[in-house]
């Protein structure tokens, strides 16, 4: 049996949903009359149904992570910007920390100049501070970036920052002696000082209250 070639074309047009109405009618009539073509058409439909029936599969776990890990590095600026947006508290904290360290180091650098606490009987010469023999210096002595030579007596604490201290055998210090040389020790010294200031402030308040 020889069927016109166009019948198979019509079948495909039909399956593509692109068949004209008149061709559709012709196809219909032919399929009703011709069992071979009808079988051909059924087989095509069956094949399509089979292909469509293959279940929809999903990408394996970790697929997206795998892609993201293999992408080229993005610009640092964006990464940081996003991080800051996501962690506002941490950004604020880190900014604070940055400014704090900055200011501490700049104070440290400013402090490179020689200075000494003011007591009338201290002798200052070429960056060396001397407590003269037989003299009594009252109050705490602080020397920055210089040498301290104690031959007499100091009634109070002695602190030498970034310098050297020499205590003569005849010299005497009633309070504590402290030497600060490294940056971190220096910071620690400041913290302790701030803490003791604060403590004395509270003590002062307490005293005020007890007076009232």
């Amino acid at each position: 049996m020889s069927c016109p070639d166009r019948i198979v074309d019509y079948m495909h047009d039909y399956l593509d949903e692109e068949i004209t109405e008149s061709n559709k009618q012709e196809l219909k009539q032919h399929l009703q009359a011709c069992p071979d073509c009808e079988q051909h058409f059924r087989e095509l439909e069956k094949a399509i149904a089979f292909v469509q029936s293959t279940s929809h599969i999903k990408a394996p776990d970790g697929f997206t992570a795998g892609v993201m890990a293999k992408l080229p590095q993005e610009k640092k600026r964006l990464k940081m910007g996003r991080w800051f947006k996501r962690h506002p508290l941490l950004s604020a904290a880190s900014l604070f920390l940055m400014l704090m360290t900055g200011s501490i180091f700049s104070t440290w650098n400013e402090d490179q100049e020689f200075s000494v606490s003011k007591q009338p009987n201290l002798v200052v010469e070429n960056g060396t501070v001397t407590v003269p023999e037989g003299e009594v210096v009252k109050g705490d002595v602080v020397v920055r970036n210089g040498k301290l030579n104690i031959e007499g007596q100091v009634q109070g604490d002695v602190t030498v920052i970034n310098g050297e201290k020499y205590l003569a055998s005849a010299g005497q210090v009633t309070g504590e002696i402290e030497e600060v040389n490294e940056v971190f020790e220096w910071i620690w010294y400041h913290i302790k000082e701030a803490a003791s200031n604060a403590a004395s402030l509270f003590e002062g308040e307490e005293k005020d209250q007890s007076l009232q």
């Binding site: 495909h12 990408a59 964006l78």
Partner: protein
């Protein structure tokens, strides 16, 4: 959905990688499925599908934003699959002995599929058979058939993805259908 995708693509062009993550999430199943049906192997499909997303990311600046992103990623994936099929020479066989072992072959290395109920077995076998028949199609028919019947795309989209005239796409689908008819007639 396309508007979200367009917005994400703009962010991506500015260099924001996280915007791309969402796009990958949206299309990964479809792209993986396309690759799986083209290649017939899960590991290869995952490899190629990931590669497609990476290439899309790298070349995003050449993507014409007036077109659909899906068409573009499908095109990249299809081309990669076809390259892979053409280059494919089996570099290992599952029943080859693993070096340094006795009687241990690659089958024993591949983890067994999780147990499935008996009832599903029959349809599973049928599915495997259909997959096998799809894999036997010449690649030019295969890509057209997979895009049409598994990804359920229109002929126009397929012609855009494959970069072929509509008439050629139709011919390929017709021939693919005829080939499948022959192969699946007795299943």
């Amino acid at each position: 959905m396309e508007t979200i995708v367009k917005r994400r693509i703009k962010q991506m062009i500015k260099g924001d990688q996280n915007a791309y993550e969402e796009i990958v999430e949206l299309y990964r199943d479809k792209v993986f499925q396309l690759c799986y049906r083209m290649l017939g192997d899960r590991y290869e499909a995952e490899d190629i599908a990931q590669e497609a997303f990476i290439r899309a990311y790298i070349n995003i600046k050449s993507f014409n934003q007036n077109l659909k992103f899906s068409s573009w990623i499908y095109r990249i994936a299809t081309n990669l699959c076809i390259d892979r099929i053409r280059k494919k020479k089996p570099d290992y066989y599952l029943d080859a002995e693993v070096p340094g072992t006795e009687g241990l072959n690659m089958y024993s290395q591949v983890s067994a599929d999780t147990a499935r109920p008996e009832v599903e077995l029959e349809s599973l076998e049928l599915r495997d058979e259909v997959q096998k028949q799809i894999a036997m199609l010449p690649e030019k028919y295969r890509s057209a058939i997979v895009l049409k019947y598994i990804e359920e795309l229109s002929l126009n989209e397929i012609s855009e993805i494959l970069d072929l005239p509509l008439g050629t796409v139709k011919t390929r689908i017709h021939r693919g259908r005829e080939a499948l008819r022959q192969q699946l007639k007795n299943v």
